[in-house]
Symmetry: C2
Subunit: 179 residues, 2 copies
């Protein structure tokens, strides 16, 4: 019941759970690994802690199976739904840093030639993966409203991966030519 701060992981849990209805932390983990995990991934341990935290605060209800594995099943309360909706309705004006390790190394003086090829391949693979994922959904307008956001976020990811590929292939080429 205490007023705890809701963090991005909290909203991920609330968001996923309100679509699923009822689920165990482990189910959430599996679900998160696919879609939203590309944007913001979570360890399974964190999901156990987070669901517990949210349940303590009244945003989720906890139910324990009486037989078998006696797993814990969570469900979003009205309060949780309200908190999520409120957060979703508020625009963020916060700037998110890239915090990319390779760029950090670059900024601190690495020779681009040593990291560019690896990064290039990494982002090419990621781009391909995203594009394949994207191809599975059709046009955004044809999707049910609840599913649109995820696809849009995926499209953002594709754009950034393309940018990464452009960037690192430029560096790979320049150095390749210079040497």
């Amino acid at each position: 019941m205490s007023s705890l701060r809701l963090t991005p992981p909290s909203y991920i849990v609330l968001g996923l759970l309100s679509e699923l209805g009822e689920a165990t932390p482990y189910t959430l983990k599996q679900l998160a690994a696919n879609g939203i995990g590309n944007l913001w991934s979570l360890q399974h341990a964190q999901l156990y802690r987070e669901t517990e935290r949210l349940a303590d605060a009244g945003y989720l209800t906890e139910r324990r199976e009486s037989e078998g594995r006696r797993r814990k099943l969570y469900r979003v309360t009205d309060e949780g739904r309200r908190a999520l909706a409120e957060w979703l309705a508020t625009p963020t004006a916060e700037y998110t840093e890239l915090r990319d390790l390779a760029l950090l190394k670059l900024a601190l003086g690495t020779d681009p030639a040593t990291i560019a090829p690896v990064q290039l391949e990494l982002h090419r693979n990621k781009l391909r993966e995203y594009e394949q994922l994207r191809a599975l959904s059709g046009k955004v307008e044809d999707l049910p409203p609840e599913a649109r956001g995820a696809v849009l976020a995926l499209e953002a990811g594709i754009g950034h991966e393309r940018e990464y590929v452009r960037f690192w292939s430029r560096l790979a080429k320049e150095r390749g030519a210079a040497n």
Copy 2:
């Protein structure tokens, strides 16, 4: 002397300090706020902790002013320099998630119309800021080698900001037209 794990902030400290020679945590903070802070920012408190940690582990030496403010001045040791060089020479194959709050909201079902305008302005401003910064340095080839990495990282940032601007202006337009 203990073997502690070196984190990205550790390398930022090592990197900045090895360029500066000797500095106080506060000086590092100021320096970091400008250049590298756009990529990976640090609180001042963290810099105090981190310098202390690194000094304990033997990567920095600590010297205290005898008069005046009795500030702590740090300097990179050979071991520190070695650790930094080793890290810089190792390519990373790790994928960095975007972890952008606005994209997260989008993925969880926000109406794009409510966040797109704010994000658009945010990223337009950031882009302008980066481009002005970029204009201060000339061509990359004319720079001293130590300074090139920072400019390249900045160029990466510009690319991503352009991508953000493209993305959010698309959403802003679509919705604007639909309504």
